[in-house]
């Protein structure tokens, strides 16, 4: 394992120290591993809380700031944070209008956020709502399973709901909006290589030089199937086709297309990939009106990418375009 690292046990703690030093616009509770907008709670605004395991940087701390999240909880690498963290953060970001939990759909995250909501309800009078985000079409959507993973669409949900929260909208309206954006989003990912969890010290799975994994998540888990190494053109098809098969993305104002790097894939390749994705969308009559290309939801040092598509109506487009000032997404301010 070759990484910029000291003791793997200290990785998350030390990285959070770096985030704190680099971003004076954040407040970091190292004890509890919570990162806040420095000015939280914002009076009268619904507080937005997300978070999850570490190893997905810039998710989640890169999305804290005006126009997006108020706080995130950081877990160990690929391990959901614990209810105490979430309950504490919920308390701290309640500006009097309640707190919305934006939960990435993983068994651990959902259960820990559930317990946090129970704790918060027992200990404070903060009103909490939770929305679970589950956009990954690699996984069958079924009531009898853990359901679909939450992946890239969370960026659209958090950005759009963040903008609406700045406008002063109420908790249940924001929860509805979050569900609407989630429903309007689908994602699919692939890996060229496994990642290496530092505590384990070796790759999570072995992948020969001439094979790739299709339908991966963001925790280094193997995908739905292993196929021979293919061209970017063919890979784009393997990602875009199942997305378009799952939902109609024509109409509306068009779509937001997000080509996400898994951590070790550089921008040169991601833009090449976007070219292929956009060509397929063209052919399908789907119109990209906004684009995001880069490593936003990573899986440690995995090489690969995922594609997320969100259908935008006029309102969602305006909220996406609204000012945002986080370390990973910033415009208009």
């Amino acid at each position: 394992m070759k990484k910029l690292l000291n003791d793997p046990a200290d990785l998350v703690a030390e990285s959070l120290r770096g985030v704190e030093r680099a971003h004076p616009e954040l407040r970091v509770d190292h004890e509890q591993r919570i990162l806040y907008r420095a000015d939280a709670p914002v009076r009268g605004k619904v507080g937005l809380l997300s978070g999850g395991g570490s190893g997905h940087e810039p998710a989640h701390a890169g999305f804290i700031g005006p126009g997006m999240l108020d706080a995130v909880c950081a877990g160990e690498v690929f391990t959901s944070p614990v209810p105490d963290q979430m309950a504490e953060a919920t308390k701290q970001i309640d500006g009097g209008a309640g707190v919305l939990h934006l939960v990435w759909n993983y068994t651990g995250d959902v259960m820990n956020f559930d317990m946090a909501a129970e704790l918060a309800a027992a200990e404070t009078d903060t009103t909490v709502e939770a929305v679970v985000m589950n956009d990954d079409v690699a996984v069958e959507d079924s009531l009898f399973t853990a359901g679909r993973r939450g992946t890239g669409a969370a960026i659209a949900v958090e950005k759009i709901v963040g903008a609406a929260a700045e406008q002063g909208r109420g908790l249940s309206e924001l929860a509805d909006l979050a569900r609407r954006v989630n429903d309007a989003s689908r994602s699919m990912g692939m890996a060229l290589t496994s990642c290496t969890v530092p505590a384990k010290g070796s790759p999570t799975f072995d992948l020969p030089d001439d094979e790739i994994e299709i339908g991966i998540g963001i925790h280094g888990e193997p995908g739905r199937r292993r196929v021979p190494l293919a061209s970017a053109h063919d890979i784009a098809g393997m990602l875009v086709d199942p997305i378009l098969a799952d939902r109609d993305f024509t109409g509306g104002e068009g779509v937001l297309v997000f080509v996400n790097g898994m951590g070790a894939t550089p921008a040169l390749e991601l833009y090449l990939m976007y070219n292929e994705v956009a060509a397929l969308l063209d052919k399908a009559g789907v119109v990209p009106v906004r684009t995001l290309v880069g490593p936003y939801v990573t899986s440690l040092d995995m090489a690969g990418c995922s594609v997320s598509i969100t259908r935008l109506d006029d309102e969602l487009l305006r909220l996406w375009d609204a000012p945002v000032a986080t370390s990973a997404l910033r415009w208009g301010m």
Binding site: S80, D84, D114
Partner: protein, 215 residues
Amino acid sequence: MADVDVLDLTVLDRWLRLFAASVAEQKDTLTALDAAIGDADHGANMHRGMTAVVEALDATPPADPAALFKQTGMVLVRSVGGASGPLYGTFFLRMAPATGGAGALEPETFAKALRAGVEGVVARGKAEPGDKTMLDALAPALDALDAALAAGESLAAALRQASTAADEGRDATTPLVARKGRASYLGERSADHQDPGATSAALLVGAAAAAVAGP
């Protein structure tokens, strides 16, 4: 030392420490199992949790079994995260009230508490036996324990049989296609792999058997 036939604080404390020790020993195995069908952290998660549980036992020795279970559950919920944290945490938290405040647990009370714990896992995780989760080790273990106790077997013998049932349940997860937890994302590819949570759960039952067994 002969087999014990009630579970007092000493025995329960030994149970948790034995479980912590076998988790520490099997950490890499648990993580390797999780790497195959999950995210390669189950060993680290359980080890972090059980280390904290033992530290808590040292720092604030509980006054009775209910306090011991509650403390253990709270520590697990607070320190583990992921899926296993809330699940194992809930397991112990639900055991506490089922002790009825006793200072030492009769075998039947212990079995009842374990069943309350497992019901907590089901309530929290919504899994059923056969979903390829820790339940696949826990549920058969409970059934075996109840059956053995009903048949008049000693606590030690009953927990030995429970442990065997847990091991069998763990092994039986191998061919299953996961329907809950992270392994479910793999669909058919989750078959032919032993479930990490069932593996740690079998260690938990095995530790109980060891804790009551004579030397």
